[in-house]
């Protein structure tokens, strides 16, 4: 149930999706991987929209060079843990939601446990190895993954619904080289708010999601394009051919073991 205060706070969006929609947001649990350039607008807008339970994971400390884009963090936060800074700001934006912070680097050993049974995973990472990890867990647990990435004045976003749509690996089987990427803060602002819009639509069960489509934003030319893509049957993360070949390998290993006995 929404309190009087909540009903007043969300008045202008309850006009869009009613008390039921707002209650659905309140019940939701979203996992945000990263409290940086994308994680800032994503977590701020999910907070003010009243998404009731947000988990934010980041291991970094606020650095002066982050401040051109990571709008969760202020100059006075330099040297502070990003998640501590994030929690303070988000709770100040909206005291009616629960913020859970995790000061950790997401890796094979902890990601599955930390994601738990979230309703959605927001990819606000800055590297593909961790994105592939999130993609794998999303596939395994059937949790939607809201992908976003940026560089300079460019950005891209897509929404992955495991079992229904192509996955991140279908689209990007190989990671681009790692680099210290140039960026202006408005770019993660654009892409992060697109990801947030997708999360809200998904939780509300409304609108058309950015599924099997990669949205490409070019701030230089001020063009927004999209490219459709399909599931790759040979995808190493979600492909049916791959599942078949994995089960064949498992079967043959079992056979070998049996023969040894």
């Amino acid at each position: 149930m929404l309190s009087e205060r909540e009903r007043e706070r969300y008045k202008r969006q309850i006009m869009l999706f009613g008390d039921t929609g707002q209650e659905n947001l309140k019940k939701a649990n979203i996992f945000i991987a990263g409290a940086g350039g994308l994680g800032s607008p994503v977590s701020i807008y999910l907070s003010v929209a009243g998404v009731g339970n947000l988990t934010i994971v980041d291991k970094d400390i606020v650095d002066q060079s982050n401040l051109n884009r990571q709008i969760l963090h202020y100059d006075r936060d330099i040297g502070r843990k990003k998640v501590a800074s994030a929690e303070e700001k988000l709770q100040a934006y909206n005291p009616d939601i629960n913020i859970r912070i995790i000061d950790a680097t997401l890796d094979e050993s902890n990601a599955d446990r930390l994601i738990g049974n979230a309703d959605g995973i927001v990819d606000a990472m800055d590297n593909y190895p961790t994105r592939y990890l999130l993609n794998g867990i999303a596939q395994k647990k059937k949790i939607p993954l809201f992908h976003g990435a940026i560089r300079g004045f460019y950005g891209q976003a897509t929404t992955i619904i495991p079992g229904k749509t192509a996955c991140l690996r279908c689209l990007f089987p190989s990671a681009p080289p790692q680099e210290v990427f140039p960026v202006v803060g408005a770019t993660p602002g654009v892409i992060g708010t697109i990801q947030t819009t997708e999360v809200l639509k998904y939780l509300l069960g409304t609108g058309e999601l950015l599924t099997n489509r990669l949205l490409i934003w070019d701030g230089m030319a001020m063009h927004m394009d999209e490219i459709s893509f399909e599931r790759n049957p040979a995808c190493i993360s979600c492909g049916t051919e791959c599942e078949a070949s994995t089960s064949r390998i498992v079967a043959s290993k079992k056979e070998i073991r049996r023969k040894k006995k």
Partner: protein, 92 residues
């Protein structure tokens, strides 16, 4: 035949986009992209390695369908095709 080649992000900066070309019949996808990208040295180098092979992360699409980089040398280009070439971005 007439084909449209679309470059995105950094590739667009270097090579432009929505380039309409009239290649020879029977041209394969990799040769088409080489021909168009060859107009700008830096653009070419952003897409191909020293051996003229697509860099691993470059994404190729033919009419909205992904073409594996390794298959681009065997994929025929047809009249009216729309080819998209883009680099995924990684930052967050």
């Amino acid at each position: 035949m007439t084909v449209k080649v679309r470059f995105f992000a950094r590739f667009r900066e270097l090579l432009g986009t929505d380039i309409i070309v009239s290649p020879m019949e029977g041209i394969v996808l990799s040769d088409l992209v080489k021909e168009v990208a060859g107009r700008n040295r830096e653009g070419y180098q952003a897409i191909f390695d020293e051996e003229g092979v697509f860099k691993e992360f470059v994404i190729l699409m033919q009419n909205g369908k992904r073409v594996e980089n390794s298959a681009a040398g065997m994929t025929l280009v047809k009249d009216g095709d729309e080819i998209a070439v883009f680099p995924p971005v990684a930052g967050g």
